[in-house]
Amino acid sequence: MLRIKLEMDPGFTDRGEVLLREASALRDLGLDFAADMPAPHLTFVHESVVQASVAEGVERTEPLVIFERQASATLGVNVGPRAMIQKSNVVGWVKEHTLRDVSIHNAPLYLGRHHYGLMAPDAEPRSYKRPIQVSDADLAKIGLAVPHYLNPMFDTARELKCRDISVRKVQVMYAGTVKYNFAPLQDHRMQCCQAIQDLDATHKVIGIGRSFQPRFFNELLRDTKIFVSPYGWGEYSWKDYEAIYAGCVLVKPRSSFVATAGFDIFDEGKYCVECKPDFSDLQEVVDKILNDQAAYAEFAQRARQSLMAATAVEVWAPQTVAYFNRAAALIH
């Protein structure tokens, strides 16, 4: 039995909640998670907790699997995370989602995140910075172990009763913030809104800012055929999962380079439909879906069923178990 102490940042305890909720099933598979684990083999700890220790002059030397809670799939580009992942006692590095091609973590990055470069294709090449290089062995520590879609915030979305998209009234919907103190992201989201605004579709909803109360948002999703979800600080959005739980066709700017735990939401062509990062082909993408609603109703239904199936502990837990066992094997 691998004993793992869970040490999450107090502001993000929800991220590890599923490991405690399913502690019994995980124990059956050889992993024992607890927040107060005596004599743990390793500690699954939030990166910010370790950084706080470092700031206080306390070096964590026990075996650690770091949880990097960052919206982006790219490994944190700052010195902190890149130095931390190289430490010999750091035997694992869990992200909410990661890059399928690990070499991108070391590639020149526009403003530190791979998807920022996709949002700003015209950015000056000189604005791409080569991050601190991480060895292949250390990059191999990066993995997925906690399914994001099991976060308690999706409990309501999971329970939604869905209707076939052909009877839904809203053809296309966007909801989210557009105001950022980061021009490429603000421009990207405005491009998204403008592209929806200009669509030749008669029933659209654009909600800017946190304008929908959760109940309305869920009700609207249930009545929406296509949900368009642009990039944010990261590639994924919580709304991606909510849209699929609600049975919408999820349209995303290219994200298939991102892998996610348990349910591989961005696996090319499987659960979401991609558009260009500048949304210049959104009309075409939307037309294709609206002109073949029977096929896309099946697509949305299949995506939802797969996501629902992936909520079963026996589906996602083996990936978690395999990951932590692999990490434990690196303990010296």
Binding site: K169, V170, Q171, V178, K179, Q186, M190, C193, Q194, Q197, A201, T202, H203, K204, V205, I206, G207, I208, G209, R210, S211, F212, Q213, F216, E219, L220, D223
Partner: protein, 227 residues
């Protein structure tokens, strides 16, 4: 005096407010009925009167209160409509909205609606050339017959809104909401509405909702308006 109301199917509800104040009207000696052939005066939708008189070949001499059911404050520019208001037995001309300045009834308009001209002029739309000056003017005598009734705010559709508890303005999260159809047969109206939503879209630092088409469920819409 008994007044019968004779309007197209689907529009009777607009006059239910009179039924609701039947007691008060009764005290004043007025009885309200719907589609009652025995009456002293008739509230009748203009379109019904025109069709009925065409079919029978007879001109109605009963005292009439004509209900011109149009979304616009303007009076239809067609001469046969305007001749109706000139009739001595037409005692009132009921419109849901009317103009404060009676001169506006005689201005050149597009598609019988002054605000369409206002929209066209505001964007230099070529349809301004389609403006038509009504051949029959509304004079002071006719203008005096025009009454803003039935009151729009008393329509049954607002019951849900009225039942909501008051929510303070400062606690509301949505700064601006715009919901409605944008695709109309006439390009001008589509452009006008598109521009409204386009301007809202530009207010990036505000929490806004732009709903195009009938996208919000009726039951939720009042709550969305209050949010």
């Amino acid at each position: 005096m008994k007044i019968s109301i004779d309007v197209e199917d689907g529009y009777e509800g607009r006059f239910h407010y009179l039924r609701d104040i039947a007691g008060l009207l009764g005290d004043a000696g007025v009885e309200i009925a719907f589609n009652d052939p025995i009456h002293d005066a008739l509230i009748i939708q203009g379109s019904i009167l025109t069709e009925r008189e065409r079919a029978s070949g007879k001109v109605t001499d009963t005292p009439l209160l004509i209900y011109e059911r149009t979304a616009s404050g303007a009076i239809n520019a067609k001469s046969h409509v305007r001749r109706l208001i000139q009739r001595p037995n037409v005692r009132a001309w009921l419109k849901e909205t009317s103009f404060r300045d009676p001169d506006l009834y005689n201005e050149p308009v597009i598609t019988h609606r002054r605000h369409v001209s206002v929209m066209a002029r505001s964007i230099d739309d070529p349809s301004v050339q389609d403006e038509v000056t009504p051949l029959i003017a509304i004079g002071p005598e006719e203008a005096a017959k025009i009454v803003a009734a039935p009151p729009v705010h008393l329509q049954g559709r607002y019951e849900r809104f009225k039942s909501l508890p008051r929510r303070q303005f400062k606690t509301r999260k949505v700064d601006i909401c715009c919901a409605g159809t944008v695709e109309y047969g006439t390009g001008l109206l589509s452009i006008h509405r598109y521009r409204a939503s386009q301007e809202i879209l530009k207010l990036q630092s505000r929490a806004t909702i732009i709903g195009t088409g009938r996208v919000f469920p009726g039951s939720d819409f009042p709550l969305i308006m209050q949010s």
